[in-house]
């Protein structure tokens, strides 16, 4: 594929993420009771693993990711990165949010630069940003402001910003949701390529079962009994196949049907 990325000097080794009986609830609208969203979530992501999270809309996937990044504190239990309990924003993580969250007054280039680790030498930084923009196919729009690019382009810029960080744990919240089929495949390949060059830990939320199966070492499925009850881990599936995987592999097709059924889709 394309050339290997400029690697920032600060790059560090991948870290393990473990969820220990994680629970999270939010105060209800009137503040009178606590509405549980996640309960008793326990699993461990090994260093360098790619793990995807599947689950119905509103079940708490983003909440789970935010807990790892230290953006919201769990109500019970804990998340550990390597051996430290996460408390407060964790510098070892980089987050690709569900919304692009670009600074509207900065160009795409300048937005991606924000992701660079502190103290990146400016030459290295510039080179890395240019490479990333090339990889996410935004070179032609590098000088545009977020208000002047399409939804999919903004999402790719947001992805590039997260990748620029070269973190020990990469948290991606539906990074390919707004992309067409072809671009989506290219971006999946890009993620795998970056991961190969620099095998960091990736925890990613997706809605696309096929995507989960093609990309990940393990798939975590969150489910809940009723739409108002808290979600928890229903199954952890390990598609034990070498990458690159063909989307038409029959073993994957079977797993796909299984996962869809888990999510409530009967075909």
């Amino acid at each position: 594929m394309r050339h290997v990325l400029t690697r920032p000097d600060t790059a560090l080794d991948a870290a393990a993420v473990s969820f220990e009986n994680l629970g999270k609830s939010f105060p209800s609208r009137d503040g009178r009771y606590e509405q549980p969203v996640l309960t008793d979530v326990s699993f461990r992501v090994e260093p360098g693993e790619i793990v995807t999270v599947l689950g119905p809309s509103g079940c708490g996937k983003s909440t789970l990711l935010r807990a790892v990044g230290g953006l919201s504190a769990p109500t019970s239990g804990a998340v550990r990165i390597d051996d430290d309990v996460v408390s407060g924003i964790d510098p070892r993580c980089a987050v690709g949010f569900q919304e692009p969250r670009l600074l509207p007054w900065r160009t795409i280039t300048k937005n991606v630069e924000l992701g660079l680790p502190a103290r990146t030498p400016s030459g290295t930084g510039r080179r890395r940003v240019a490479e990333l923009l090339d990889l996410v196919e935004l070179t032609h729009h590098a000088g545009h402001r977020p208000g002047e690019v399409s939804g999919g382009m903004a999402q790719r810029a947001s992805l590039a910003r997260a990748l620029a960080r070269n973190p020990r744990v990469l948290l991606l919240d539906e990074p390919f949701g707004a992309l067409d089929a072809l671009t989506r495949i290219r971006m999946q390949d890009l993620l795998l390529q970056v991961h190969r060059a620099d095998p960091t830990t990736v925890l990613m939320v997706t809605h696309d079962v096929e995507e989960a199966l093609v990309l990940s070492d393990r798939v975590v499925v969150l489910t809940r009994e009723t739409p108002t009850s808290p979600a928890t881990v229903a199954e952890v599936l390990a598609p034990d196949l070498a990458r690159p995987r063909s989307r038409d592999d029959t073993r994957l097709t079977a797993m796909r049907t299984h996962l869809l059924r888990l999510l409530g889709v009967e075909r």
């Binding site: 609830s25 105060p27 606590e34 983003s62 909440t63 935010r66 230290g70 953006l71 919201s72 504190a73 769990p74 109500t75 019970s76 804990a78 309990v85 408390s87 407060g88 924003i89 569900q98 919304e99 208000g147």
Partner: protein, 305 residues
């Protein structure tokens, strides 16, 4: 546009009702702690923000008390003479004297009335004209420069003009206070309206919402924080203009007390007037704080625009 937004950073401080900023940058946002039961010890920081209404109020008094101490020291160590800087107790004495004679209430009452009425009129007008200029390019081109020029006419300069046009009496005083209150609201509102998030305005317009309805459902709520800081400044400026207004043939009011004491060399009463103006300014400002909290309650944690 949507999820989790405000929970992450702009969280409502449960005591002051004001969102907490990014100062405690490296900790988990405060509001998230709320129902969280026992936290790992690392998250309890020495610097955590106090949360009861009383503590906050008391802490707010620390600085004034310190200032009072410095004042007391300066006025007693012989560096300043009593006319230059009377002791705090002398000022208190002057206040007590006025209180006993009943004059204090008259001064405070009439000034407060002038400020409140003038502020209401001026800020309502400022909101209306600010909305017009902020939303209509024509109004901006035609009226913008003139209003901008009038903004720099000092309160004292209005005095002779108002004397000519309206004469003395309550009307001219209230008018001057209203002029003072007008400009901050006008400026902040007209500027803020030009920067309302285009996406949601466009969305609302695509649903056929226009004109006054667009203003009240989208633009006004979106600029609410700006309106409120405009109101804050307008109220402060109303108090500032009050002093000029009470040069308009007045014989009561705190502004009168101020200039009159200055003319008569009563430094103790002068300082009393200053302190009273500051305290009343802060008290009326607190009412805007109440209004702000009400709007935040009504519209959720303040709109992010």
């Amino acid at each position: 546009m949507s999820t989790h937004s405000t929970s992450g950073n702009t969280t409502l401080d449960e005591v002051t009702g004001e969102p907490l900023g990014g100062a405690n940058a490296s900790t988990v946002p405060a509001a998230e702690h709320k129902g969280s039961g026992p936290l790992p010890p690392r998250r309890r920081r020495a610097g955590s923000v106090p949360r009861t209404r009383l503590t906050v109020a008391l802490l707010g008094l620390v600085l004034p008390v310190l200032l009072l101490l410095v004042w007391h020291l300066l006025s007693t160590n012989g560096f300043y003479s009593p006319v230059q800087l009377p002791q705090p107790s002398a000022v208190l004495g002057a206040g007590w004297e006025l209180l006993r004679s009943g004059d204090l209430w008259v001064h405070v009452g009439i000034s407060t009335q002038r400020v409140v009425v003038g502020f209401m009129l001026g800020s309502a007008l400022g909101l209306a004209v600010g909305a017009l200029v902020g939303l209509s390019p024509w109004a901006r081109i035609l009226a913008g420069p003139t209003v901008g020029a009038l903004r720099a006419v000092p309160s004292l300069a209005w005095v002779p003009l108002l004397l000519l046009w309206i004469g003395i009496g309550e009307n001219s005083k209230v008018t001057l206070v209203a002029i003072g209150a007008f400009f901050p609201v006008y400026t902040t509102v007209s500027a803020a309206l030009q920067h309302v998030d285009g996406q949601i305005v466009e969305a609302a317009r695509s649903f056929g919402i226009r004109g006054v309805r667009l203003f009240t459902t989208v633009q006004l709520p979106a600029v609410l924080p700006a309106v409120i800081s405009g109101l804050r400044l307008a109220l402060a400026q109303a108090w500032l203009f009050l002093v000029a207004a009470e040069l308009l043939g007045s014989s009561m009011g705190l502004g009168f007390l101020l200039t009159d004491s200055q003319n008569n060399g009563r430094t103790d009463r002068l300082l009393l007037a200053i302190v009273l103006l500051a305290v009343l300014g802060k008290l009326t400002d607190a009412l805007i704080g109440v209004f702000e909290r009400w709007t935040q309650h009504r519209w959720g944690s303040a709109p992010a625009t």
